[in-house]
């Protein structure tokens, strides 16, 4: 059965690029345009990995990540942050909140897929 990935980003173009790559690699992709929408997706079918932007309206990526780690079913689910933020402070903030990897945009789909394959839960 295909692994399901939650893709959270307010940029439709980024969701499209990442979505094509992930679906092409055989993953199922669930999309959300901000952290709040992302949290509501956690109540559906099981998510095996989460990819999230940092700077988003309504609920940003770090806030979303903190909420994910409080969720009883998703506290151990790997989260990859996919963001234009390249500063070390922000990265450490993401690490402290529980992120497993930090990819800066613009990104090559192959790089993202490599990180996903290393982290996706069995």
């Amino acid at each position: 059965m295909a692994k399901r990935i939650l893709l959270v980003d307010d940029s439709a173009s980024v969701r499209t690029v990442a979505g094509i790559a992930l679906r092409g690699a055989g993953y199922e992709v669930v999309e959300a345009s901000n952290g709040q929408e992302g949290l509501s997706q956690l109540n559906g079918e099981r998510i095996h990995l989460i990819i999230s932007d940092v700077n988003m309206p309504v609920l940003d990526g770090i806030g979303f990540l903190k909420e994910v780690k409080k969720h009883p079913n998703y506290k151990f689910t790997p989260v990859i942050m996919l963001t234009t933020e390249a500063g070390e402070d922000k990265k450490q903030e993401g690490r402290a909140a529980g992120a497993k990897a930090w990819i800066t945009k613009p990104f090559q789909p192959a790089v993202m897929l490599d990180a996903v394959s290393k982290l996706v839960m069995a």
């Binding site: 439709a12 173009s13 094509i20 390249a86 990897a101 800066t104 090559q108 990180a115």
Partner: protein, 336 residues
């Protein structure tokens, strides 16, 4: 509208506030109180212009991305339909199977030919026997001839014996009749053996003619089968080559489009930069509206600091500091 903005940017009042917020090189940063209100009245206009540009760019890029995405999906569908090199292998395997099956048919025809040739060989062996029969019939005739001569001599001797030889003369006559019958039988055998020999010879000749025709037919069938299989293989190979070429081209086009999609990520980055600019302008407008002219310099410095902390990209920070931005690094990954 561009002309208006250009004139406004060249306004000395604008220059003053841009210098104060760090957008121009440091120095001569004192704001003239009288100018602050005028400049601040321009900020909402710039903000709206930038926001409109950002939104239009975003809409266009999102639409473009969606179009590209649909093209990629259609190419994927076409690639899945056209298949890959395995179809070529299937066609080649089918051609090889057909070649083997048809070769079996030719082999079967050749086997029939061999069987018939063996039969003819056996018939030829019979011809040898008929030669022996012919010789034996001749010997029977010779024996009859000699017996006839013997009976004649016996009849002569019986006549010389007179009355006492009459009985022997009857025996000699019967022996002569038997010898004549033997000679007739010998001649009949010779005649019949000759007929059989002729028939066998005719069978041999007919078989040779038929065998020659069969050889030609089998050879022609073999050549036709090879030609048909050859044409089939050529056409399937050509079709497979064309399909593979099409597959390669489609894959290359898809890769190009995917790479273009990657490049379109600039919208996300540019959008964030412009959104920050708009937000910052709006904040400055609000702050300026609630501050006095004396507070303007401090306000500008505080706002510049706040701007610095709100940047999300490296080039924003470099631009703020007046440092030339370099090419954006792609796909830096950090695992925690």
């Amino acid at each position: 509208m561009l002309a208006v903005v250009s004139m406004e940017l060249s306004d000395p009042n604008v220059v003053n506030i841009l210098e104060a917020t760090g957008s121009f090189e440091a120095g001569n940063a004192a704001l003239q109180p009288a100018n602050v209100d005028g400049v601040c009245s321009l900020l909402p206009i710039w903000s709206r212009q930038v926001e409109t540009s950002r939104r239009q760019t975003e809409d266009a890029i999102v639409a473009l991305t969606e179009r590209f995405s649909q093209i990629v999906q259609r190419i994927d569908a076409a690639l899945n339909t056209s298949g890959t090199g395995s179809q070529r292998t299937d066609a080649q395997a089918e051609a090889q199977r057909s070649r083997k099956d048809l070769a079996l048919v030719v082999d079967a025809l050749k086997a029939i030919q061999l069987s018939r040739n063996e039969l003819v060989g056996q018939i030829r062996t019979l011809s040898n026997y008929t030669a022996e029969l012919h010789k034996m019939a001749a010997e029977v005739d010779l024996i009859g001839f000699r017996t006839n001569i013997l009976s004649l001599n016996a009849a002569i001797e019986a006549a010389h014996a007179g009355e006492s030889g009459k009985g022997f003369a009857v025996v000699a006559t019967e022996v002569r009749a038997l010898s004549n019958a033997a000679r007739d039988t010998g001649k009949q055998i010779t005649k019949k053996v000759g007929l059989i020999n002729d028939a066998l010879a005719q069978i041999g000749r007919t078989n040779e003619e038929v065998a020659a025709r069969d050889d030609q037919a089998v050879q022609a069938s073999d050549e036709r089968i090879r030609a048909v299989i050859g044409r089939f293989e050529s056409s399937t190979a050509a079709m497979a080559a064309a399909a593979q070429q099409s597959h390669r081209e489609s894959t290359a086009i898809k890769a190009e489009i995917c790479e273009s999609l990657v490049q379109l990520q600039f919208q996300d980055r540019v959008g964030q930069i412009l959104a920050q600019v708009v937000g910052s302008m709006n904040e400055l407008t609000d702050k300026a509206a609630n501050s006095t002219a004396d507070e303007a310099a401090q306000l500008a410095k505080e706002h510049a600091d706040q701007m610095m902390s709100s940047y999300t990209t490296e080039e924003q920070k470099l631009n703020h500091q007046g440092i030339e931005t370099t090419e954006v690094e792609q796909s830096a990954v950090t695992f925690f």
